[in-house]
């Protein structure tokens, strides 16, 4: 039940048979989400991909996220993992704190929060700005570029590498590994396992290196040295490194890509941002709401009825933050991008105890990437809307997105 072929086939009724990897859903999931949300079953169920529930209303998604004792984070990937994945040398390595449940979740999260506070991430702003300018230098003279591959994809991986103290020259390799886990690997278990092994082997070496050569002001060294405060193990530190790479790259890259894709088609929004720079903070929140990249999963702990749905222990729930963020019960004109939207209680970063730890970094990267782009390339448009390619499932965003300027 884990390959594209086994799960393909036409979807007649999305409320009983949605397919999150259907090419049309991957490209534009919002009409299907709308159809489910306004149907008799706003919490849909499908047997594809090992079976899952799919809540689409804001209140339901938030309620499930808050009930972390019943709806656990034992597995947060949107499809079941291949049996082989549980074995091998790294069987016990998870991705704390995202895969942790209380009580351990508390310290798993507590330990990494300080590096992500607004005042801590501010030190990456200038470096990110320089990076964005260098990327644009490589293509600005050509009058055409791929806003996905040449730009959006290049930024978060280098910021995270800097944060983890690992070589930024390995950016392409890191990107390949992360796509292997979060994109290609979701429908190809072999790729997923191989990519996971590459990530963990790499960080295993980094841990050994930091033990021998501790560094100043270095996240991995600091984590290894936190044993006096918390029961830190190598498995924990490996898991955190794994998560930072996996959670910090595809997600932010998708947010930057979707925002550029949107701006390429909306000259009036480009103009608004040029003329009213004070609008940036709300504009960033609005772009995150409208094009929320991330869907997570929960595993039901014990048989329970939720909004009339008979959920069984072990069932998977897809936490569609993208669907929640377009619920008209919560947002006026949810399908419109309103850059100065005042009332915006979006959940692009989730809700409850697992709310994104990296959100301040993600916001900074998104803002700087868009600001630098608009400074250098104020006017641009899609070369061919039909040729834009998309990734979906766990993380939604454009991959190839050619623009002309």
């Amino acid at each position: 039940m884990s390959t594209l072929e086994e799960n393909a086939g036409p979807v007649n009724d999305p409320t009983t048979d949605y397919n999150i990897f259907d090419p049309e859903f991957v490209r534009d999931p919002y009409p299907t989400m709308h159809e489910i949300r306004e149907s008799k079953c706003p919490i849909a169920h499908s047997n594809r991909w090992g079976g899952s529930w799919f809540p689409t209303r804001y209140d339901d998604v938030v309620a499930i996220a808050q009930e972390h004792e019943i709806f656990t984070s034992r597995d947060i990937i949107v499809v079941p993992r291949a049996a082989a994945q549980a074995e091998g040398p790294y069987a016990g390595v998870a991705a704390p704190p995202i895969t942790s449940d209380p009580p351990d979740h508390h310290w798993h999260r507590r330990l990494i929060l300080p590096v992500f506070a607004p005042q801590s991430v501010a030190k990456y702003e200038q470096g990110t700005r320089d990076l964005c300018n260098q990327l644009i230098d490589t293509f600005i003279a050509k009058g055409e570029a791929d806003a996905g591959t040449d730009y959006a994809q290049q930024i978060p991986v280098r910021v995270i590498a800097t944060m983890l103290g690992v070589p930024t020259e390995m950016a392409d390799e890191f990107t390949g590994w992360v796509r292997g886990v979060l994109e290609v690997g979701l429908t190809d278990p072999k790729v997923r396992l191989e990519s996971r092994l590459k990530i963990l082997n790499f960080f295993r070496q980094q841990l050994d290196d930091r033990r021998k050569n501790p560094r100043e002001d270095d996240l991995i060294t600091d984590l290894l040295n936190s044993g006096d405060k918390y029961p830190v193990t190598d498995q924990y530190v490996l898991g955190v490194c794994n998560l930072m790479l996996v959670a910090g790259i595809d997600t932010t890259w998708s947010a930057i890509g979707s925002s550029l894709w949107h701006l390429a088609q909306h000259p009036e929004h480009r103009q608004q941002l040029r003329e009213s720079p004070e609008m940036w903070p709300t504009a960033i929140e609005e772009l995150l709401r409208a094009y929320s990249p991330v869907t997570m999963a929960r595993i039901v702990d014990r048989d329970t009825e939720f909004q009339g749905c008979p959920m069984k222990a072990g069932d998977r729930i897809l936490m569609s933050f993208p669907a929640a963020n377009r619920d008209p019960r919560q947002f006026d004109q949810p399908n419109e991008v309103i850059l100065d939207r005042e009332h915006n209680r979006h959940v692009a970063f989730g809700s409850g105890i697992h709310r994104c730890a990296g959100s301040n970094l993600a916001r900074l990267e998104l803002r700087v990437a868009l600001q630098v782009w608009l400074e250098r390339i104020p006017e641009f448009s899609l070369v061919d809307p039909a040729s834009v390619t998309w990734a979906g499932g766990q993380v939604h965003g454009p991959r190839i997105c050619r623009v002309r300027f």
């Binding site: 938030v62 992500f116 506070a117 607004p118 005042e342 709310r355 301040n360």
Partner: protein, 64 residues
Amino acid sequence: MRVKVDADSCQGQQMCSIAAPEIFGSDELGHATVLIEGDLPSELHAKARRAQANCPEDAIIIEE
């Protein structure tokens, strides 16, 4: 009007400081702090309400 943050509910995503940077700041973990002790000046009341409405954790308490 006075504002408080319920530390048990706050998950530290700073939607409050985006809506009302004059009123909310961040501690070293990224959780919200209130920058104005005592009564808020009336010109900040609307912003305080907006911050409260935008907090996805219902962590902001307003006393009037």
